[in-house]
């Protein structure tokens, strides 16, 4: 059997027996996605790299005893990544509590100036970073990682309805916060 045709679960089992090739394959398959979740949650590349590395370290430590128990491996890995990020946010005191974030537009004069410097991605990232952590995670999983609401609910250990609610509030907040710069973003990204 070719290694790239193996399931994640089979690779984890082999990695748990010390198979370095299987571990490397898991890294190739999932490190970008884990990095993506961590970056959305922490908003900083260096911090995201540390969190992604810690996520995989937890994987290696648990690989030998990991059992599917009905959950996909990727769901479990995303959950570990999300919890790792939430722990880091809480330790650093940077977390934004649910209901604590104002759903207000960023109408400061600096908003458009930032776009003038062509740092459109930074403007979007900043808007995402201002979301409460659960809303941010919902956006990271459903939009950027393309998980279904059902999969996201499994990762977040909540209900589908809760995920839909989080997404709805996140979208509303993002629409408002990005409204002043929407046209520039659309033009700058060639989206019009």
């Amino acid at each position: 059997m070719r290694i790239d045709a193996e399931t994640d679960e089979a690779l984890v089992a082999r990695a748990g027996r010390g198979d370095r090739t299987a571990a490397g394959q898991l890294i190739l398959r999932h490190s970008d996605r884990v990095m993506g979740v961590c970056f959305r949650m922490l908003g900083d590349r260096a911090a995201a790299e540390d969190a992604a590395q810690e996520t995989f370290l937890k994987l290696w430590r648990n690989a030998a005893k990991w059992r599917p128990q009905g959950a996909k491996f990727s769901t479990w890995l995303y959950r570990v990544a999300a919890n790792t990020c939430l722990d880091r946010l809480r330790r650093s005191g940077r977390e934004v509590q649910e209901d604590a974030a104002p759903e207000m537009a960023d109408e400061s004069p600096h908003a458009e100036e930032r776009l003038m410097s062509a740092d459109r991605a930074a403007a979007v990232n900043e808007a995402i970073a201002k979301l409460p952590e659960r809303q941010r995670l919902a956006i990271a999983l459903c939009h950027y990682q393309e998980l279904s609401n059902i999969e996201a609910a499994a990762v977040m250990e909540t209900t589908v309805e809760a995920v839909e609610s989080l997404l709805g509030r996140a979208r509303r907040t993002l629409r408002r916060s990005l409204a002043p710069v929407r046209d520039e973003l659309m033009e700058g990204g060639g989206l019009k």
Binding site: A15, I27, F39, E49, E146, E164, L167, G168, R171
Partner: protein, 140 residues
Amino acid sequence: MTSNDDLRGAPAGDGAAESSSAGDSDAVLSQILDVAAAPAAGEALQARMLSDFDRVVSAAETAGGAPRPLQKVFGRIVDGASLVGRFAKGGALALFGVVGFMTGAASAGGGAEEDMAVAYFESALAAGVDDGLEGLWDAE
């Protein structure tokens, strides 16, 4: 990146009233979000992850039983004991065979046979335990 219909096509919930076309608004938002792609893990990070794996495996081997160096030493002790056992067994068999041959030769009463027995005995000792044993059976 934005093929998730749950995000793009789903009703906007409590935010729907603020837009005349929530679905269209969500589609625009999705396009805007796509402007900000997350960085990839990169080879350096992947190498660190693999290095972590090596350390975890190495630590598990150490904690899961006798560390490798001790296992090697222990293995050599076992090998040594086995060798001594084999040597003793071979020596005992050789001595048993020589004594038996000499007894048989003496009972036959011939001087020539006695000389042959002594010669075989000496050659068996000289050839060593294992080789001597084989030679002894051949001689008999």
